[in-house]
Symmetry: C2
Subunit: 304 residues, 2 copies
């Protein structure tokens, strides 16, 4: 058995931590790599110095491969790319901008480049720019996304058909069913954000994790921000949840931060805060259980 992403990156499972600016720090990144996936530091808001510290801290916590995500709009984007190369990261993810900007430089340094897209046209541009793999991210995802609002189910098969490189599905995936469905859609793996934020190793506040557990599938919306959009909790849900939380415990971060933190539609599937190893382990073992039986849904007719 072989998987293009697992072989290229020397990881056990085709499960990637999405680039979470501010949130994707050493403990979470190392936990994902230690659990057999690929951790990515969320370098978007950092200086080169902060990035270097996080890389070194991650190396203290894992001897497995990990990388980082740099969004095109990051203030220190060029310096961050040079830092990643100087620190010899083997894999980098780029997003929210043209893949042409950094791919040649990263490839020249021998780095494996993954680029995040949310339309078929951008996937084709990324392949032409020479990226090694493409994350096809549907509008269910948290964080900054395109206003085009193409869902994961519609986007992934079309990207997989349009490009020759490996495709990774993202947006709305939180469990074994989402992983199995991603394979069915033509992806070789998944990128996870929300479900890995709802883990013990993630450094978002306990109040935000509690909100992810409480939220139903209808409690987020895409908030337009100029030419892009960010999926966040609805105002009504946030108000009620914060009121409840204040009565039972004390939120440890300012309310405003909670309100503006991106969260995916997959929040409706989160039932409890687990460890990263539990999230990834159960996703893989349950996918192995359900995949062989799926064909049983197609009865063989009498005439066949």
């Amino acid at each position: 058995m072989s998987n293009a992403i697992c072989e290229a990156l020397d990881i056990r499972y085709p499960i990637i931590l999405g680039g979470l600016s501010r949130i994707g720090r050493a403990p979470l990144v190392a936990a994902v790599s230690n659990a057999g996936g690929l951790g990515l530091l969320g370098a978007g808001s950092w200086t080169a110095e902060e990035f270097r510290e996080q890389i070194r801290e991650t190396r203290n916590l894992t001897d497995r491969v990990f990388g980082a995500n740099i969004p095109g709009h990051a203030e220190a984007a060029d310096e961050l790319v040079e830092t990643a190369i100087a620190e010899r990261l083997r894999v980098m993810s780029t997003s929210a901008g043209s893949p042409r900007r950094f791919t040649a430089r990263l490839k020249e340094a021998g780095v494996y480049v993954i680029h995040v897209v949310s339309t078929v046209a951008h996937a084709m541009t990324a392949e032409k720019a020479g990226v090694d793999a493409i994350v096809a991210e549907g509008s269910e995802s948290g964080g900054m996304t395109s206003m085009e609002q193409v869902s994961t189910l519609v986007l992934v098969p079309q990207v997989a058909e349009a490009v020759g490189c490996p495709v990774i599905a993202a947006g709305g995936i939180a469990d074994a069913r989402g992983l199995a469905a991603s394979f069915a859609l033509g992806a070789v793996g998944v990128q996870l954000g929300t479900v890995l934020m709802a883990t013990k190793e993630c450094e978002v506040s306990p109040a935000f994790k509690e909100m992810m557990v409480r939220a139903r599938e209808t409690d987020t919306y895409l908030d337009p921000r100029g030419r892009a959009a960010s999926r966040i909790f609805k105002e009504d849900f946030t108000k009620t949840a914060l009121q409840d939380l204040k009565e039972t415990s004390s939120p440890t971060v300012p309310d405003l931060d909670l309100v503006q933190t991106g969260v995916g539609q997959a929040t409706g599937m989160i039932r409890e805060v687990r460890t990263v190893a539990e999230v990834i382990g159960s996703m893989v073992s349950q996918a192995r259980e359900i995949l062989p039986g799926l064909i049983m849904n197609l009865p063989l007719g009498d005439a066949e």
Copy 2:
């Protein structure tokens, strides 16, 4: 091998034609049932007399089982339900309204009742009302839908977890990958709209079919209509497409009708106008090809 929907409805494949008001007429409905799926007449805009004529015309074209969809907002909804019972339709689909309104009456007459929902809460209400099966329809779908905008990938596994009856996935499904992914998400079958509108048997205008073939995944949007929404082609796309079509052929229906006709996000996956038998046949045979290999995406690690 068994499939709850195929056994209950005596159909060969768990593939249902969604209720398409005005568009779901006898030739299309009979073609779907003849191809091994379940055709549903789109009765929403009809009088009881028109509905009776369509039922009889369908019976002239197929001896397989078929049914009809009645949305709660249909002007003649109560009469349509009585007509379906009088004409001894074995299966009915209800949508866009409370499942409590018609379920008891239909069940009392021995009719198999399928109800369409777009949130987990509505699925639970429908199960309590006694429906036999639930269609979980994500926001990718064409036609009237909820403003909640929950995608198929996020909705289906949560509905499948919340209810005990069979769940059918709808919204954004147009090929074998979508069918296989629906099984992975916990559905026992799929309901199709857009891809079955782009068929030779469907009576929408050739110009509209050509627009579905041309459209990319980014060419539709959800247009708010009071408390609901309808997915239609974007204005820019419609303008350009109609201009092109006028130069090469002559659209046979008024432009305004085309602009307001619902279309799902799956339109981006449609490459040509085929027969219904080709759409359903290739969906089933390709799903049988891809399903057994999906497990290969999960490599067995050295330590396992």
